[in-house]
């Protein structure tokens, strides 16, 4: 709870609406929609875990900066061998876990070996697939050997799934995480909040706040109300864009609009007739009016995209023109493909409002060209089971928030079932290429291929909307990875 309440509580009375000014506030309450299922970032994909623990509790060898750049983390520096197969990481000295044990090279070896082990439950095992050996050269040096040269290895080590954990505390990691970060885990009231407190013995720049509370408010209305009533100080990834003008107009608050790695797409089941015909997929793309979706579902917040790549990435190619809104063309394409209209197809929609609202708008737009999308609203569990794993769908809307994830198009068993050998070869080449210019060129090529094949209908890049009290400073504006890095956050003087 906020300080306002603490003081009111201490006063022991019911002082309605009392707002007690404080000399210098040193704690903060952050609202977010999803509660983490547990707090082990190395054994689940849930972004909510990283949101709480990334950089706050756990740190990796490298880390993402607010701009998405990869910088030194626990490894203050690293060397790459000539052949690009060996990485030597030089660890920071005097780092201690929150339980007082020392963080040294053995912990790094343990962490990486645990993540790449046969029975590992790591959700991003692919990050570690290239590692053939991890050796602690001395207490502060770790040598990692790769099977193929990999220019993106430091990038991979910055992921939340690659943070350094200690063998001493690994058993309790899910409920009482012990890391090296600037904050330590304090308390978790399941279903409500997680509290962190400042780590007084942090090895680096100490945190500016004494305490951080993550409060879980899944309902967008409640999110709005909690902000308005000042129950929370910051709402990360605010779910109701329609309320932003109100916050903007209110001097108590500020609104930060940043970018995420979330390409929001209308995914198409490429193996299901008639969508196995590229013409039909192209028709879908032309039937969709992106701006209307951005205006209707996102109240204007969102950047249109024409391929599966983040627009803020220097390698991004704007291909939106290739799939411009042209219902007449869509109808023509459908006719060419010999589709009998109206075409009835199933569209599953997971819970987020971009999907639910966007889905309704898309259904209306598709109806204009003769495609009847039958909406089926599903919970995440059903979406994962039925749509993602079962591939029992024709269309679905989802935001792919992992960074640089165009390589999913190289997986023929992925849920949109796109199978293009040339594209797969291209991605394989990128994986082993370490020359930045060549990589960049190949990424652009890959974007073009999936746009030409109209694999999915690419809608918009999901913005990161953060609503905060006017006095809060040091928040990340963008989300290069899912994180709420609180280390630099503080209240304005």
């Amino acid at each position: 709870m906020t300080n306002r309440f603490t003081t009111v509580g201490l006063a022991g009375g019911l002082i309605f609406g009392a707002s007690v000014a404080f000399a210098q506030q040193a704690d903060i309450t952050i609202g977010q929609q999803l509660e983490p299922p547990h707090l082990d970032p190395t054994s689940a994909a849930a972004g909510a875990i990283d949101q709480v623990v990334y950089s706050n509790i756990f740190e990796g060898l490298t880390r993402f900066g607010p701009d998405g750049s990869v910088g030194p983390g626990l490894a203050r520096s690293w060397d790459v061998s000539e052949d690009g197969l060996t990485y030597t990481f030089h660890l920071a000295e005097g780092v201690k876990f929150h339980d007082g044990t020392t963080m040294d090279a053995e912990d790094v070896v343990f962490s990486l070996n645990r993540a790449r082990a046969e029975d590992s439950a790591n959700a991003q095992k692919a990050l570690f697939a290239g590692i053939t050996d991890v050796v602690a050269t001395d207490a502060a040096t770790v040598t990692v050997t790769l099977s193929n040269p990999d220019g993106a290895f430091p990038f991979k080590m910055a992921w939340g799934d690659a943070v350094i954990v200690a063998p001493e505390s690994i058993d309790g990691i899910k409920t009482t995480p012990i890391g090296t970060g600037a904050f330590m885990f304090d308390n978790w009231v399941e279903g409500d909040r997680i509290e962190l407190k400042k780590n007084p013995e942090y090895w680096g720049e100490p945190a500016m706040l004494d305490a951080v509370t993550f409060k879980f408010i899944s309902d967008p209305t409640a999110a709005f109300a909690s902000m308005m009533a000042e129950d929370v100080d910051v709402f990360a990834a605010f779910p109701a864009p329609e309320n932003l003008p109100q916050f903007d107009a209110d001097p108590r608050f500020k609104v930060l609009v940043g970018s995420t790695e979330g390409e929001t797409i209308l995914a198409i089941n490429n193996k299901q007739a008639p969508f196995d015909n590229v013409k039909v997929r192209e028709a879908v793309a032309h039937a969709i009016n992106r701006q209307e979706i951005i205006d209707g579902a996102q109240f204007g917040y969102g950047t249109p995209i024409g391929t599966h790549f983040a627009p803020h990435n220097p390698d991004y190619v704007d291909l939106t023109g290739q799939s411009g809104y042209d219902p007449e063309k869509a109808k023509m394409l459908l006719e060419e493909a010999g589709v009998t209209l109206p075409l009835k197809v199933k569209m599953t929609l997971p819970p987020p409002s971009y999907a639910r609202r966007g889905g309704e708008i898309i259904a209306a737009q598709l109806r204009q060209v003769g495609i009847e999308a039958q909406i089926e609203n599903v919970e995440w569990a059903q979406w994962l089971e039925g749509t993602f794993r079962g591939k029992d769908y024709a269309l679905t809307i989802v935001s792919h928030t992992e960074p640089m994830d165009i390589n999913i198009y190289a997986r023929p068993d992925y849920y949109f079932q796109y199978d293009n050998a040339d594209f797969q070869a291209l991605i394989a080449k990128i994986d082993v290429e370490s020359d930045p210019a060549a990589r960049s060129e190949m990424f652009k090529q890959a974007q073009q291929v999936i746009a030409d094949d109209y694999v999915n209908a690419y809608l918009f890049q999901l913005p990161l909307i953060t609503v905060a009290k006017a006095g809060v400073e040091g928040l990340w504006e963008n989300a290069p990875t899912q994180a709420a890095d609180m280390t630099a956050v503080h209240w304005a003087e």
């Binding site: 209305t221 309320n243 205006d295 209707g296 309704e360 209306a364 737009q365 609203n377």
Partner: protein
């Protein structure tokens, strides 16, 4: 709320007098009028609505009431009046069929239990009823829709199941008083079996009870449907439903109150109308209870 006693039932067969009294009952007339408005709105919506409720018109989104859209437009620019009209259809259909399910299963069970009062069968039926009552209805509704997927049909089933014990109990208690009647004894002397007596003598005399309770369950069904679709478990888009309209308007309530106001009022007035009508009917069928509950 529901303690109508079967032995107070008036004779039928005087339709003229009944109509006359009906028109004099304030709550009945008001309730029936409100209910009728929404039923008519629902029926008209099959033929005509001011605008197409599936059409999206982003350019006109979130407009307050105007001559073009008497109740304003929603966040997709759809006409709220049209949506309320079509939503009435869903609410009324769901509640109506759910009451139908409750009656179709509950009434025979209640009649059967009463006919075999005190037997094992009676015990099983009544304990079964208690058991259904013991389940938290909303949780079960959520489970049902989680298993079979959210849809109007599953909402009907979820609400309908909980109507069964209501009607079974009511029918049984009404029937038990009737079984004490001498005319039932006379029918037994005439050699009629329990099934025949239940149909000929018991059922016609519990219909008033059933109509009154049916009206009340109808209104509860509307509320339940609104609750279910509010949490996203009712009719699926693009079919409008009152509960979902409320859910969708929630985040906009502070700058577009009309979006939440009108669907809420629609629910309120329909439920109010049905309840008033139920009270009025009770008074009508049972003048002794006039003014009670």
């Amino acid at each position: 709320m529901t303690d109508l006693r079967a032995d107070h039932l008036p004779p039928s067969g005087a339709p003229v007098r009944l109509w006359g009294r009906a028109l004099k009952s304030r709550s009945l007339v008001l309730g029936a009028a409100l209910t009728l408005i929404f039923v008519l709105a629902a029926l008209v919506s099959f033929l005509w609505t001011p605008f197409d409720v599936t059409g999206i018109d982003i350019a006109n989104k979130i407009k307050g009431p105007s001559a073009r859209n008497p109740l304003g437009t929603d966040h997709f620019g759809r006409d709220i009046l049209s949506m309320i009209m079509v939503g009435a259809r869903v609410s009324i259909a769901v509640a109506f069929v759910a009451v139908g399910i409750g009656m179709a299963f509950g009434v025979p069970l209640g009649l059967w239990a009463a006919a075999r009062k005190g037997s094992l069968l009676d015990e099983v039926i009544m304990r079964g009823n208690d058991l259904v009552f013991a389940f938290p209805s909303l949780v079960i509704a959520i489970l049902i829709t989680a298993i079979f997927g959210p849809s109007a049909v599953n909402a009907i089933v979820a609400i309908g199941i909980f109507n069964i014990p209501v009607f079974a109990r009511l029918t049984r208690s009404g029937a038990l008083t009737l079984w004490q009647k001498d005319y039932v004894l006379a029918a037994r002397v005439a050699g009629k079996g329990a099934a025949r007596i239940s149909v000929e003598h018991i059922l016609p005399n519990v219909t008033n009870l059933l109509i009154v309770q049916g009206t009340i369950q109808f209104s509860l069904g509307i509320l339940a449907e609104a609750g279910l679709s509010y949490v996203g478990l009712g009719a699926q888009p693009p079919t409008p439903s009152w509960g979902r309209m409320l859910a969708e308007s929630q985040t906009m309530i502070s700058f577009a109150p009309h979006m939440a106001l009108f669907p809420g009022l629609a629910i309120l007035l329909t439920v109010l109308g049905l309840n008033l009508m139920g009270d009025g009917l009770r008074d009508l069928f049972d003048p002794k209870l006039r003014g009670r509950s």
